[in-house]
Subunit: 220 residues, 2 copies
DNA sequence: TAAAATTTTTAGACAAGTCTAAAAATTATT
DNA sequence: AATAATTTTTAGACTTGTCTAAAAATTTTA
């Protein structure tokens, strides 16, 4: 069966996928509504439609999970989104804070070979500009384990490998603070009261709030 | 006033623009319906909406013309379409018969600088893969004069500079016959009965029907 | 475990874009 | 100029995706 989904349907599948990855369990209607910036009643309607198409399984008042087929579509859409973000940054020289909304549109372009050709043109990148892993042609995706800067203890060092929040305001803050993917961060002190951290990056000492540190993926 | 039009609205403006360019006069409802592959009643509805937005002027039962603003949007959409076609052929190595439907989607991506950055990346091309002129950043477009192969007389030679029909079947036929943009064609004989031509191209003699010859733009 | 709070679903409405069928206006034909 | 043919518009309906308000189910709290 060949599917041609609307942009709305693809966006819902992506949302259900990403909530499911984070939580493991089946996904609540309200969580989807929150992520999609819409109302619970709209979610109920859409989930019903996706269920009719065999893309999710839904138990009334219980929750929603993707079927194998639904997950495959979600992952393909993510692949498309992240490859277009690479294109926008690497090829068209956009800044990493400018590309999300554009990729949000481009991910829905329908074509049999477009995304694979783009992948080839970009030399098969593994990560998008925000450090998120790019699924391969077969939908295989390597999740990097979720170690946040907030969990690093005073005295330890780590490397920035990704951002959890891709909002323009957060990314602009990072630019300003010289916090970029690949940079080393040394945690100097952690404030007991509000979890704020003094960190050393690019030979400068700065203070970052918990809000910041819990949105940065790092590795040892 | 900043406009954010739907894909349908942009497609209608493009259709009205291209019919207007060919005919000069104001555009009939049925002509639009034919080009948009829709019904006259749908056109009436949409024309009313575009008129309310100040993008077309419409006189009941008489016809429709683009306003300055409407024409500007149509030309920008055309620019986007043709630049994406260049990208698909030049950068992603699609064949010229594969790109129209994809560009038909990509032309609608909303972003302030995307198309201009794409233009720069492609080194400001003047023509798309089908020989159609690409409007510049300011919407200035050079129409090449419409000389068709069908109007070339026996004994004369010309260069292929564009195709009027961009359908995949026509373009595949041209590929097969080695008829490509830039190639020279010598018209050897023209059949009085059905206007079919014997032509010499790439040192081969072939016969092309009037259907073919009236869809090829040429220059001396 | 019964009442209260929360979550989810249902019911009914709306805008965009499309369609069919019928009415109205225009153009062509006699 | 009257009739016929064609074009265009109107009227009403349908689909998709959304919303608000109210009802129903579930979970929390006391
Ligand atoms: Mn999207
Ligand atoms: Mn990203
Ligand atoms: Mn289009
Ligand atoms: Mn073209």
């Amino acid at each position: 069966m060949k599917f041609d989904l609307s942009q709305a349907e693809e966006n819902y599948l992506k949302a259900i996928y990403s909530i499911g990855i984070d939580t493991g369990k089946s996904v609540n209607t309200n969580q989807i509504a929150l992520m999609m910036k819409t109302k619970a009643s709209s979610v109920t309607d859409m989930v019903k439609k996706l269920s009719d198409k065999g893309l999710v399984e839904h138990k009334k008042y219980k929750g929603t999970i993707l079927t194998r087929k639904g997950e495959s579509i979600a992952v393909n859409t993510l692949r498309s989104h992240r490859l277009w973000e690479c294109f926008l940054v690497d090829t068209l020289q956009f800044n990493w804070d400018e590309v999300h909304d554009i990729a949000e549109q481009m991910e829905h372009i329908k074509s049999d070979s477009l995304v694979d050709r783009l992948d080839q043109f970009l030399s098969f990148p593994s990560y998008d500009p925000h450090g998120d892993p790019i699924p391969d042609k077969n939908g295989v995706i390597k999740h990097h384990k979720n170690v946040m800067l907030s969990s690093v203890v005073a005295g330890d060092s780590c490397i920035v490998i990704g951002v959890k929040d891709s909002s323009s305001s957060f990314l602009k803050f990072l630019d300003n603070a010289s916090i970029r993917l690949g940079n080393e961060i040394k945690v100097v002190t952690v404030e007991d009261f509000d979890q704020s951290m003094q960190i050393e990056i690019e030979n400068k000492m700065i203070t970052v709030s918990y809000q910041i540190s819990k949105n940065l993926y790092v590795k040892k």
